[in-house]
């Protein structure tokens, strides 16, 4: 088999990032919210590898803890979206008819809203806690998954082995959960990895507008926004969080592309 470099490379990036996020407490050199008035806006040095911010906090430590927040928002938001999409998409595809029309028109309606502004509006009403942000990104981005799953189920349900499982007396619920969804999971996995990248970017965008994860909790997005006022004197505060968002998204996209080549 041809070596799938994008998959290998993507997995490598994400594994390293995940390890950093999981062991944040062990590897971060400083407390991420410890303020040090003697070392404000210090450039990268041997003491502070990535420099310090306007309050003297160590940027490397903040970014390591930020990885935890950003990655978990990506994973959980996409998890929520995938579960909703799987349930609604498979019901629509399997039962067809009126139920299908109802669900798919609801999908169309949801798709009519510009997602980012919908999220902005909801966050403005609710409080922008980490949990709320995960949930809101999740419930506004399941429509693609639902369409994908429905299309897969539509072709799968005509396959002979589905008739065979009806012939041994399996219920509709069992046919959907045990026989249809496992066969449709490949393309869903591809879209989920690509979705994680999208969710991380969305959270960064929200944080940049001040409606994402709230300080002092560090996320890559809100480190970036805090750097805006000192952009002229402290380039490291903008470049490092920006580059790590870039690398993470590239990592997930590489996995997505690699998986698509392999199974999609």
């Amino acid at each position: 088999m041809k070596k799938n470099y994008s998959l290998i490379f993507g997995v490598l990036i994400i594994v390293i990032l995940s390890l950093i996020a999981v062991f944040a407490g062990l590897i971060s050199p400083y407390d991420p919210s410890a303020i040090d008035h003697d070392n404000l806006l210090m450039p990268p040095s041997s003491q502070h590898l990535l420099g310090t911010d306007g309050l003297g906090r160590d940027l490397a430590s903040r970014m390591i803890y930020g990885a935890r927040i950003s990655l978990s928002i990506g994973l959980i938001a996409v998890g929520i979206a995938t579960i909703i999409g799987l349930i609604l998409g498979s019901i629509a595809g399997y039962y067809g008819g009126f139920i299908d029309t109802l669900i798919m028109r609801f999908v169309d309606i949801m798709l009519c809203f510009p997602t980012f502004f919908l999220i902005l509006a909801i966050v403005a009403i609710l409080e922008p806690s980490i949990f709320n942000i995960m949930a809101i990104i999740g419930i506004t981005s399941w429509m693609g998954v639902a369409r994908l799953v429905r299309a897969e189920i539509l072709t799968l349900k005509e396959r002979e082995f589905i008739q065979a499982s009806r012939a041994i007396g399996a219920s509709n619920f069992r046919i959907i959960t045990r026989h249809l969804i496992p066969n449709a999971i490949g393309p869903v996995l591809v879209s989920a990895t690509l979705g994680i990248a999208g969710a991380i970017l969305l959270e960064s965008g929200l944080s940049f507008l001040g409606l994402g994860v709230q300080p002092p909790t560090p996320s890559w997005g809100n480190i970036l926004i805090e750097s805006k006022s000192t952009l002229g004197v402290a380039w490291w505060l903008t470049v490092f969080p920006g580059v790590s968002i870039l690398i993470t998204i590239m990592g997930f996209n590489l996995i997505g592309e690699g998986l698509k080549e392999r199974i999609g």
Binding site: G96, I168, G169, A170
Partner: protein
Amino acid sequence: MDKLLEIKNLKVSFYLDDKVFTAVNGVNLEIINDRVLVLAGESGSGKTITALSIAKILPANASIDSGEIKFEGRDLLKIDEKSLSKIRGKEIAYIFQEPTAYLNPVYTIGNQIAEAIILHQDKNRKDAAKETLKLLGRVRINDPERVFFDYPHQLSGGMNQRALIAMALACKPKLLIADEPTTSLDVTIEAEILKLLMDLKKELKFSLLFITHNLSIAKKIADKISIMYKGEIVEEGACESIFGSPRHFHTKELINAYQKIGKI
């Protein structure tokens, strides 16, 4: 001479947009306990649709317009879906034409046979697995322990058909419906599978509805033959009368077809 199944005046149509195609038009059939009824006819004569109507596992765009399907005195067309799914696989089981297509590609053989057992019998996974190994031996698979963990694509058509027979007989059904079970297999495997079916029939004492277009098979196994043509039963009788004095031209065609091949 107890009647196990009695089909009266069955009419099944396909609905495509606003067009109606009647596939089965007023079929009457009787299956006697512990006997073999062969339903023969050309492709598209309605044999399979008649068979699928019995446990109501028809394709979504087909529907039963009228008739009665009495199984042990109960009209299967009048009972609800839930009680039907208790009959499917437990009382009435199916085997089909393309064995590999009728097995779910994402599960092992053992897993799928065990599912058939768990669906209708109060058994845990471990007991079901034991039972599955016994069944695999019973359908004369040489190394059940290996085949148990094989996926359908790793096995030949003949092996998969044996696995499907094991699955169908898992709950000792009273009626086995075999829809051209040997058509996609080569001649030596065909003979083995037929012998296996007839031996199992003696052992387990089920009735058999065997569908084929090949009258040479019918001659070997049938107690009674019904010839179907364009959705209707055009001739029926014991082997001797069908082969000795065929009345309908389609019966003569079918007999000629296999005799010609025999001469080549």
